[in-house]
Symmetry: C2
Subunit: 282 residues, 2 copies
């Protein structure tokens, strides 16, 4: 790829894993890091995840060929507005945000002439966050969605696609709008539902929580995810999430109706259909 | 304990695991099995999980000192009505059902004079069912809830408590009513919600399912559970489950309200409280 320098803006699980993955495969000569917390940046440097860092995003990204936005999505546009004046001509700005629609719009209009933006969303990570869980193989066989628009530079798109493939990911392309509908349904709404499920048990009786078995633990593991990150995702994909919460509420009301009517035959068919769909997953 | 013969009515994951656990600790001289499917009983005998079997529940349970109801709960009262005339005097009938209230009432009134009923619910098992997953150690460190009532014979309660402790479980006692409220909230309602979550994605767009990541897989793993078993549980605990579905729906509406009002501060507090509650679990 011939890239010289990469800047990673945000050294959490994803940002640090990208750094480790690129280093392992010799895809860059130098990695600089930006972050909000100096202690985390020092830790990242000690672990040799990054070569240098700055608390000033412009300083961290200057001279970089690729700038990867990997903070919580709420910071992306602010960071780009602070670095746009000092970015190298020909640099590619990309991101790893779990929401795309409004974010891609905002980042595209903030991208200066001579710099190219490519939206990306690697489907990796879990409820565990932070550099301590980072791994050079986090993206192996993971899916990475690229979200090109009519404004996307073709060569830059190819560069970013190639980068993700080299660190092990399978790449698919969707419009930002379609991306947000898909991930609201299989990720964002279910995360919100998991927080609501835990809150419901708390509301019924906080002492009951200790009787939860493995099923409840699995079902609510995603409620251990970072509230800050999920508030950002809700902020930027709220229409889809609200709509999909409505679909879930309607489904819960369907079940309630079966119960009230003692219609256990329909309930059994409903459960069986859901089981069959779920079986397609693993 | 001096027990001679145990009958296990239903050789699924739980029934077969009890048999293996009792054998491993020499808690009985002989185990007979009843089931609806001859092939499964033959398999259980070949695997030496049981010594003998019958497709006739009366034949399988005759002369037994302890009769354990381990079929789906919907069959319990029918089985007891078919064996009540031939049970040995002094026998203890117990069960492993996930619901207790109405079931314990029905089983107590079906229990003949000179025979004693003790309700039990081991919190073990998972979405995997059947004898192939059975294990002598399934109940090690698991919780087993006993649900004595004013009709429960004290000596029989002690015998069943001792049995569960010997096969590794920790025993707690609740009234059938209290048991059902607890397990509706942390198990039954969440199972129903998992089926509804899968159905919601299917309704939004069945093709989106393939983009589900580990979070969704974990959150909906319990939707792989046996529909037959869960319909039975819904049938026998429907008032609690319907009430707790209402609590969940209200919580989902609370989140929707935060989204509509752009009240991301309250949303963050809501997520943070839920995360903190969930952290108490593991």
């Amino acid at each position: 790829m011939g890239m010289k320098k990469v800047a990673i803006m945000g050294l959490g699980l994803i940002g640090a894993s990208i750094a480790l993955a690129m280093r392992k495969r010799n895809l860059c000569s130098e990695i600089s890091g930006f972050g909000r917390t100096k202690a985390n940046l020092i830790r990242a440097k000690r672990k040799k995840i990054i070569d240098s860092f700055s608390l000033d995003p412009a300083a961290a990204s200057m001279d970089s060929d690729i700038v990867i936005l990997a903070t919580p999505v709420g910071y992306f546009t602010d960071i780009l507005s602070r670095i746009r004046g000092t970015l190298k001509r020909g640099a590619i700005v990309t991101d790893v945000g779990s929401v795309k629609g409004g974010i891609v719009d905002a980042l595209e209009s903030e991208t200066p002439d001579g710099v190219f933006f490519v939206g990306a969303h690697p489907i990796a990570g879990s409820e565990r966050s932070g550099i301590d869980f980072a791994s050079a193989d986090l993206f192996r066989d993971a899916l990475c969605i690229l979200t090109p628009t009519e404004n996307t530079d073709t060569a830059s798109l190819k560069t970013i696609e190639s980068l993700w493939k080299k660190i092990g990911a399978k790449v698919m392309k969707f419009s930002p709008h379609e991306h947000d509908g898909i991930f609201s349904s299989v990720s964002h709404m279910p995360h919100v539902a998991a927080y609501a499920l835990v809150s419901s048990v708390d509301e019924i009786n906080p002492e009951y929580m200790s009787f939860a078995g493995q099923g409840f633990k699995d079902a609510t593991r995603i409620a251990l995810s970072s509230p800050e990150m999920w508030v950002d995702i809700c902020r930027f994909n709220k229409d889809n999430i609200a709509h999909h919460l409505d679909v879930l509420i309607q489904n819960l009301n369907t079940v309630k109706r079966f119960l009230k009517k003692n219609d256990f035959e329909s309930l059994g068919e409903y459960f069986s259909r859901a089981k069959k769909s779920r079986e397609s997953l693993e």
